[in-house]
Amino acid sequence: MATFKEFRNNVKPNWCPGCGDFSVQAAIQRAAANVGLEPEQLAVISGIGCSGRISGYINAYGLHGIHGRSLPIAQGVKLANRELTVIASGGDGDGFAIGMGHTVHAIRRNLDVTYIVMDNQIYGLTKGQTSPRSAEGFKTKSTPEGSIESTLSPLEIALSAGATFVAQSFSSDLKQLTALIEAGLNHKGFSLINVFSPCVTFNKVNTYDWFKENIVNLEQFPDYDPSNRIAAMTKIMETNGMVTGLIYQNKERKSYEDLAVGFKQEALSKQDLKLSRQDFDKLLTEFK
């Protein structure tokens, strides 16, 4: 059995020292080992941004695609080979701005993909512009007078889009984060894990200390029932979106792969491509 060390490679991340993304990388490596994966059984598909580099920093199959499109690529991988464990990953700009359309529809589609968003409330790679996750009034290079757009609540959107797994965590809380990623990997369907992952270089407001002060950990509520969608929505609203932990899980709904009529149980990628003469002739009769 592989340990988390086997999910490490010898590529040195180009993240700034102290960037929250380091812990997300470590948590993915641990969670992958904890759920019993071998490196070749995992595919990490990432978007573009500082966070998007993560697929290159994990010893597994990885594809670093284009900005905002990690989810459709990841879903394609899963459809082609459902025996693979597929993680999609990227920043809040990647997933909630340019890629928001895909995020909502990936949630609706409910293919078995685990989506980990590194949410730093700012654009890191392009050096500090506002993100849909930035607070109103937040000053950035692109909002010198402060952001005048409302802050997007991905958790509420996920719930209303029919998500079957919604979690949130904080990169400093490696234990919780690892456990949630494990739960996401084990969930049969789409899982969204939004991770507060501070950008130490460009976001001087939403710092590690700020998160520590503002986060509301679900552990404080021993009676909380993550199968209750209304309670989940309420908790998100009550905490102004700062709640962490497993917020909602629906174990009943089947994944897309299981619902698609005729869709193969084994990896489609292992199938013989050649059509039999009989099948071909049968297809032709419709055109006669």
Partner: protein, 578 residues
């Protein structure tokens, strides 16, 4: 006895024009006639004039005709709009209900049949189309059993009572008109066909069938005219082979999902038209850069923007060649017949995997939607080639190195493993990368990788990258075209030849990389050259000039009013050029 005939049915969209055409042509196909169809429609579902035209022949035909023999009309508008096409002595079969009249100056014979009245008598005006088609079938004197069989197949799902009613509607329509005409019309008696079973389909079906034959098992797509039939066919068939179709949220998702699935080892396609292709451009670059196979169909329609969504055009060629940013290897192929739609699809999947590149198959609306007779499709020509795909187990890597997915090789093509393979781990990124797929900004590496990728396709030629009919050593005129226009050109050439004008004809099937060396001798030999295209700027002519030359000899023949060329138009224009 005649050897060919043109028949048209017109009415309001949603009035049964489509289904009548379908039953009528299915029956003709069963009798072994060669058929070529043309659909005139607009982008509304109900209302608005629509018509379908079929050309029927005892010999292979691949073009719509200039004129019309029989017009079946559900309303006066259909007569007014289409009667001009009727040749002298042609026929109009129309519903007596609206007291049809033939426009002044048109010499046609009118049969006013109580189409609606008969249908209503039988229970529902919905059966109007059966009465009308029965009437026109009757006039042709073709065997009724064959027609009834087609009716049965169309309505079989709805139960025997419905079938019976429709058959009765057909009979009544035929009976009425035959009484009026005094029996089948001799001047419209078609010679017997060869009776051989033929395939009859639209280009989109040929493409979809080709993709199934090629081993495509997934499709991700977003609906658009005139591409949707590909998706609709595959959603019916792929589940039978373990696969599926995903209707995505947009074309960006469609193309990137296809990239993901191809990366993971399943032959996957997407299909769209100009607006969708425009959205896919960044992702096509990702496929080129990461050397991930990808197959995309572009069913060209009238642009720009929403343009003429239901009309013929060939104006995406520039976008397909130059559309993505940066420089990538790719293949743009343009089938010119229904059979090529099928075989090109298979070859495209093979090339996409062998060369590890994006392949775009560009059809046009007439080729994609025109229903026509196809030659037999040969099972033995279905070959699957996956190039340097490694399927056997790999040896362990030395000192923790990654698999060299982008290894520099003589032909520029690197071995490929699929995710899941032990010891095959490597990285894939749209960032410039080294041989193991790791990001690299090293200048020397950059040059090597660019040369590797672009070099892969230098000699890439599809089967029949050009298709030449060149009987003349030094023709007066060389006619060059692409897509669905080939058959029409052949008819125009017959007329030109009869008038003593010698012509050669080349269909260009590969748009990129351009097969200059194949085309050049034909250009050199011709006294004059005309390039015929359904666009306003002469995109193919410009490609030829840019890649080969002969600016002084090349003339444009452009049509961008949304309709395909007619043989007479080509004939006339070519004569004027000489």
């Amino acid at each position: 006895m005649i050897s060919q005939l043109s028949w048209k049915i017109g009415g309001q969209q949603g009035e049964g024009v489509e289904s009548t055409d379908r039953i009528f042509s299915t029956a003709l196909n069963r009798l072994g006639y060669y058929l070529y169809g043309y659909r005139h429609f607009s982008s509304r579902i109900k209302g608005g004039h629509t018509n379908n035209k079929i050309r029927i022949s005892t010999k292979p035909i691949r073009a719509i005709s200039d004129d019309l023999d029989i017009l079946v009309a559900f309303d006066q508008e259909s007569i007014d709009l289409n009667a001009g096409e009727l040749r002298p002595g042609g026929i109009v079969v129309a519903d007596a209900k609206f007291s049809p009249t033939i426009p002044e100056g048109v010499q046609a014979r009118l049969f006013a049949v109580p189409i609606t009245a008969i249908a209503e008598e039988l229970g529902t005006s919905l059966m109007k189309n059966m009465v009308a088609s029965g009437a026109s079938w009757g006039l042709l004197g073709l065997p009724m059993e064959v027609f009834n069989k087609a009716v049965e197949e169309e309505f079989g799902r709805k139960g025997p009572a419905i079938v019976e009613k429709n058959v009765e509607a057909v009979r009544r329509g035929a009976e009425f008109v035959l009484e009026q005409a005094g029996g089948p019309l001799d001047e419209f008696k078609l010679e017997d066909a060869d009776g051989k079973q033929k395939l009859f389909m639209i280009g989109n079906e040929a493409l979809a069938l080709g993709s199934v034959a090629a081993g495509c098992r997934l499709m991700s797509a977003y609906p658009i005219t005139p591409a949707s039939e590909i998706m609709e066919y595959l959603i019916k068939k792929l589940p039978k082979f373990g696969g599926t179709v995903v209707q995505t949220e947009d074309e960006i998702a469609a193309v990137t999902m296809a990239i993901g699935a191809n990366y993971a080892g399943v032959r996957t396609m997407t299909a769209s038209a100009g607006p969708g292709l425009a959205l896919m451009m960044e992702a096509i670059g990702l496929s080129g850069m990461t050397e991930t196979p990808l197959v995309i169909v572009d069913t060209q329609r009238g642009g720009p923007s929403t343009g003429l969504p239901t009309k013929q055009e060939q104006s995406d060629i520039n976008a397909l060649i130059y559309g993505t940013h940066g420089e990538i290897p790719k293949l743009v192929v343009a089938p010119s017949t229904i059979e090529e739609c099928f075989y090109d699809m298979i070859e495209s999947f093979n090339i996409a995997e062998k060369y590890q590149i994006p392949v775009i198959i560009a059809t046009d609306l007439q080729l994609s939607l025109g229903k026509q007779t196809s030659e037999a499709l040969d099972y033995d020509k279905i070959v699957i080639e996956r190039g340097k795909l490694i399927t056997e187990e790999l040896p362990p890597n030395e000192d923790n190195r990654l698999f060299k997915r982008y290894e520099l090789t003589d032909d520029g093509i690197s071995p490929r493993v699929l995710p899941g393979a032990k010891h095959g781990i490597h990285h894939v990124t749209g960032v410039e990368h080294d041989q193991e797929g790791r990001p690299s900004e090293n200048a020397l590496n950059r040059e090597k990788m660019m040369d590797k990728r672009l070099g892969k396709i230098r000699d890439l030629r599809v089967t029949n990258a050009i298709k030449a009919i060149a009987p003349n050593e030094n023709p007066d005129l060389l006619i060059i075209a692409m897509g669905s226009t080939g058959g029409t050109i052949e008819e125009a050439r017959e007329r030109l030849t009869a008038e003593g004008i010698s012509t050669n004809h080349v269909m260009v099937r590969q748009m990129f990389p351009f097969p200059s060396e194949m085309l050049e001798p034909h250009l050199a030999a011709a006294k004059q050259i005309v390039v015929l295209e359904n666009n306003a700027t002469g995109q193919l002519a410009n490609l030829i000039k840019q890649n080969i030359g002969y600016h002084d000899k090349i003339r444009n023949l452009l049509k961008y009013d949304g309709t395909p060329f007619l043989p007479s138009e080509i004939h006339k224009a070519c004569k004027e050029l000489i």
